[in-house]
């Protein structure tokens, strides 16, 4: 885990490489030892709540993992905290059945190098 200051500066990385955060990936998998029945019991409510978030524009993209172990969402959030707040309203998270990994993302900064002279990559 890397420590970040408020400004998002991370040691060894110039600020030009830090993107404006435009979304947060959430990778959610069933906790070790949780059995499928526990999850399936909550799924109807989870679908309702998740679809609501999607219709509100909070979930920009949603996927099931190819290994069947959980889901990947791209949330319309500006910070990891915002993303957590969104996920923690969902039933599966409230039941403590899932592990979540949050990855804030933004535009691909290396493309800056393609944009005219004087633009520092």
């Amino acid at each position: 885990m890397q420590q970040q200051t408020q400004s998002g500066a991370v040691s060894g990385v110039p600020s030009a490489a830090i993107p404006k955060v435009t979304g947060v990936f959430v990778i959610e998998t069933a906790k070790q030892g949780v059995n499928p029945q526990q999850i399936m019991a909550v799924i109807p409510e989870e679908i309702r709540a998740t679809t609501k978030l999607y219709l509100e524009g909070k979930i920009r993209e949603w996927y099931s993992r190819g290994d069947g172990r959980g889901i990947v969402f791209l949330l319309d959030a500006k910070t990891e905290d915002e993303a957590r707040a969104i996920m923690e309203t969902l039933p599966l998270a409230k039941e403590q059945l899932m592990d979540s990994q949050y990855i804030p993302v933004g535009p691909l900064m290396p493309l800056r190098a393609l944009v005219g002279t004087g633009a520092q990559p």
Binding site: I18, T29, N35, P44, I47, G66, D67, V72, P104, L108
Partner: protein, 135 residues
Amino acid sequence: MKFRIPLILALLAMMTFAQAQSGAASGLPSVAVPKTTAVLVIQTPKQGVTFQQVMAVIPDEIQATVKLYLDGKIREWYSRGNGKGVIFLLDVKTEEEARALMDALPLAKAQLMDSEYIPVGPLTPLKALNPAAFQ
């Protein structure tokens, strides 16, 4: 040493059993497995790699990556919020296909990056909205 061998065997047996248990337990039923429509790749610099080492390869990396994007192989691309690495959503059907694409890129060839691959597909829980229709 003599008494450690049975202990190690016991531990291995326990771990295998726990793995088998949790493999079935923590995995979701096969109905949860989607058709793979893309592979998410999370690529970060290896431990100890400096920003300068990465920057030396970046001009070539940009060219190769943009080419893949224009070929339709990279559906989405992002920089990580901490500036250390990228996330791509690749238009491929298997992890092997994804690896083949990524391994051909300059940063990977220079052995500077760690890559995590997550095949993904449509959100299967939506089947429950109309089980009769969606199976």
